[in-house]
Symmetry: C2
Subunit: 298 residues, 2 copies
């Protein structure tokens, strides 16, 4: 297990270098507004583990694709994730002032710049996919369609809306799961699916197994996030410890207890790994990523 | 001239019916969050002249395409326009409480719902294009790329950033034009280009002429907007009369005088019509739209 976690960390590092270089290039073009461009760069290039890009590239590897073909979708996924964080942190939303150990975009710049930067980061994600090198038009169109479905009102944004409506509400575990499946799960599923779609020979059955893997992993990620919010330390997790509880947000430990949440996490890890049974050793990076998600400390 | 304006109004009516029916259908799917869906519907279906969809469909007609192939891009353009209005109206941006004669989205609902609805409307625009019926994958990818470029940080959102930075500043006519070319011009150009791209035989030269037409038309639209803001009546224009001047926003009449702005408008109309010289009578709807933009009272 320790070996697999180190393997995942090394893979995350490697993906982060590639993705950060590509994102830096995408955001370095002539600025229409320097302030807007600076806000976009600050929001995207200020750290982050790049879990979604790494999942995308690991799924491409699992399908035997050249991983470089997954770079554009990997960056598009990170841009969508980055835009959602910028908007989620806004005063009218979660009103957070700290993210990845630094002031949030609307604090470092201003609220209008943060709104516009988020908007433009979303647009850039679709621009990047529409011009993705080494992918056919069919692949680009399919990926754009999947990314849009995962991140729009029936996916991530829908989940964020449920989340805001849930503050102060008593949710059941099932309702909490529905919220997370939309808010974070849909994009994690898309990360794995877009990676797999770099292969022209991927089958419906393979896609379905990979989606099951990602679905369990996405929930596991959230359970671990909830546990870290209670047990973690602000300096290590990069946001205020206990901030969920302070806002009376429903969490797994609140519903299941800390021990119950840990058991739930272990079950989800099993589920994720079982979904990969039909894959050979090329899926080992995906397996390592699952171990990492459950064991991570930030 | 009067005849052409009536022709444009009839065409706008006809397009509005088709586009509104299609948008209603796109926004009627199962809601993840009812409040989010209601905010999206309120923001899109609450009126509006649908100038961009009509330009898109008229450009398809000018190229001899079946206009129904332009319906998806026309709706995508309107969704981008609608999202930009919702976000521009937010308190941290233009802080407007009235739009199209009704409370703005963040007043009718709340700020978080308005931010999320705007986000999801943008996503939906790209989803719609990626699934557009009767278009090839190549056409979809090209349209997505063009729409993203026109609406992102190097287009519409970039222009909105310049606009916010310009409040209270003394701009030259050239600087004002740069702002408008990004903020509204880029999307109007994209409207005409996406319509033309429904034809598989459109040439670079035809696209270039149509872009020149749209570029002049976009600026004319803005000059007329500025004139209406001074001369119009709140009830007819659907937003507060004099609201630009009240925020010390730079305008054409402020820089050129009312008479100078009117002359500028006439020159732009000439420019738009000249760009269509090589097109036959199939482009008459585009010609009528130009007359309409200059003569409109709201």
């Amino acid at each position: 297990m320790d070996h697999r976690i180190r393997q995942a960390e090394a893979y995350l590092d490697q993906c982060r270098h590639q993705v950060d270089r590509e994102l830096d290039r995408c955001l370095a073009r002539n600025a229409t507004s320097e302030r807007l461009q600076e806000t976009m760069r600050y929001s995207v290039l200020g750290g982050g583990k790049r879990v979604r890009p790494a999942l995308c590239m690991a799924a491409a590897r699992a399908m035997g694709s050249d991983e470089s073909t997954a770079l554009a979708p990997a960056c598009a996924l990170e841009l969508i994730h980055a835009y959602s964080l910028v908007h989620d942190d806004l005063p009218a939303m979660d009103d957070d002032d700290l993210r990845r150990g630094r002031p949030t975009a609307h604090i470092a710049f201003d609220e209008a710049s943060a709104i516009l930067a988020g908007d433009a980061l979303q647009t850039l994600a679709f621009a990047l996919l529409s011009d993705a090198p080494a992918l056919s038009d069919r692949q680009r169109v399919t990926m754009i369609s999947e990314l849009a479905r995962a991140s729009g009102h029936q996916g991530m944004v829908g989940g964020q809306a449920i989340d805001l409506e849930s503050v102060g509400q008593q949710l059941s575990v099932a309702q909490l799961e529905t919220m997370h499946r939309h808010k974070t799960g849909a994009l994690i599923e898309a990360s794995v699916r877009l990676g797999a779609l770099t292969s022209e020979t991927v089958t419906e059955c393979q896609l379905s197994n990979l989606t099951d893997y990602a679905s369990a992993l996405g929930l596991a990620f959230q359970v671990q996030d909830d546990l870290l919010d209670i047990e973690g330390d602000t300096e290590v997790i990069g946001k205020r410890q206990g901030s969920d509880a302070a806002r009376a947000k429903p969490t797994y430990p609140a519903l299941l207890g800390i021990e119950g949440a840990r058991q739930h996490l272990a079950r989800l890890l099993d589920e994720a790994l079982s979904a990969l049974e039909s894959f050979d050793s090329e899926a080992d990076t995906l397996r390592a990523m699952a171990d990492y998600v459950v064991a991570r400390s930030h």
